[in-house]
């Protein structure tokens, strides 16, 4: 059933069916998200700037999620020798990098009015900056090594080493004193964010993920075509 996730032929077949409905659905979700954000209430102490959250938080989540997906594909790619996983790693690394830089820029623009600074070297901000550098290195590694197999293995191992950063980013606000506040939404307790703000945030997250998926599909299909041509 989930074979399309590891088999390029089934992947092509599957995405050809879902692509058009997915694009239409994405447009609908994002339009709904924008309306919800526009009509969402102002925060009791942050006022209008709280709306930066609806860009900042989804990009941060997706930056981490993209890396987590790359980590899983690296493990199965290395252990089970599935070449399709390396195609996916190559295709989605720039998407993760864009989400990370979006998160950093929007966070910076949020930090200036609220904290009084664009940037501080606290544990959360620094670890996300490291994530961005790791993404850049993965993208650059794609330009190295003539031998494709050596290159893909090197990148996969590099992704695995970089994945140690993920729990550090997630728990940095709990392990150390940081200027960044702790998580508002966790599994263990009720979210400390009001429903009227949580709703647009979740819709925006779904919308952002769908954009990510659309770009990923296009990039993976292009990569498959490229390899068919040169192999």
């Amino acid at each position: 059933m989930f074979n399309f996730l590891i088999n390029p032929y089934k992947f092509n077949k599957f995405v050809d069916i879902i692509f058009k409905p997915l694009v239409i659905l994405t447009l609908l979700v994002l339009t709904a998200g924008l309306f919800l954000v526009y009509f969402s209430p102002l925060d009791y102490q942050q006022g209008l700037t709280v709306k930066i959250m609806y860009i900042h938080v989804p990009s941060a989540w997706l930056a981490l999620l993209t890396y987590a997906i790359m980590t899983i594909y690296s493990i199965i790619g290395l252990a089970f020798k599935i070449p399709f996983s390396f195609i996916i790693n190559k295709a989605i690394a720039p998407i993760g990098a864009v989400f990370t830089i979006l998160c950093l820029i929007s966070g910076s623009m949020w930090g200036k009015p609220m904290w009084g600074t664009w940037w501080v070297w606290d544990a959360r901000l620094t670890s996300v900056a490291i994530l961005f550098i790791v993404y850049l290195l993965i993208i650059f590694l794609n330009q190295t090594f003539e031998n494709r197999e050596v290159r893909e293995k090197t990148i996969a191992i590099f992704i695995l080493i970089g994945s140690i950063n993920l729990p550090i980013i997630k728990f940095s606000v709990d392990w150390w004193n940081t200027l960044h506040q702790t998580a508002s939404i966790s599994k263990l307790s009720a979210p400390s964010i009001d429903m009227s703000m949580l709703q647009p945030l979740l819709i925006m997250t779904i919308g952002f993920s769908m954009i990510g998926v659309i770009i990923a599909i296009l990039r993976i299909k292009a990569e498959i075509l490229l390899r068919k041509k040169f192999l």
């Binding site: 925060d43 709280v50 959250m53 150390w176």
Partner: protein, 146 residues
Amino acid sequence: MSLRFQRLILILITLVFLSAAVVLILFNTKQNIVFFYTPTELIENDFILNKKVRIGGYVKKSSFIKKSLNTYEFKITDNVNELLVFYNGILPDLFREGQGTVIEGFLNNNNNIVASKVYAKHDENYMPASIKKELEKNNQWKKNYK
């Protein structure tokens, strides 16, 4: 056991050891990774005078004095110990009494801080302004929402 599962286990074991190494490094350099100390930590640890430190805590209630334009004096507290802070500069929007703050500055001889930077720290609670009014009206407003 097939070769592919041997590889899988090898990868997982490597990851576990690698993360153990990183965790050990991080927790042994905690002093350098924390962004700020609390007033209590600062007083207990005998920090060197005239060295730049960052201190985080709450702005003590009714301790804020505006000396002149852009010159302020307030106390920063962690509900155990407090330090007097002098600051000359622009305060962030969220800065007010009872609000979390992080200051950067030098400790002088009398346990006072001459701050060069003041950041506002906010917590993870988000709430529409209208609901706050409603809660206050019904005396349901909890102090920990601060």
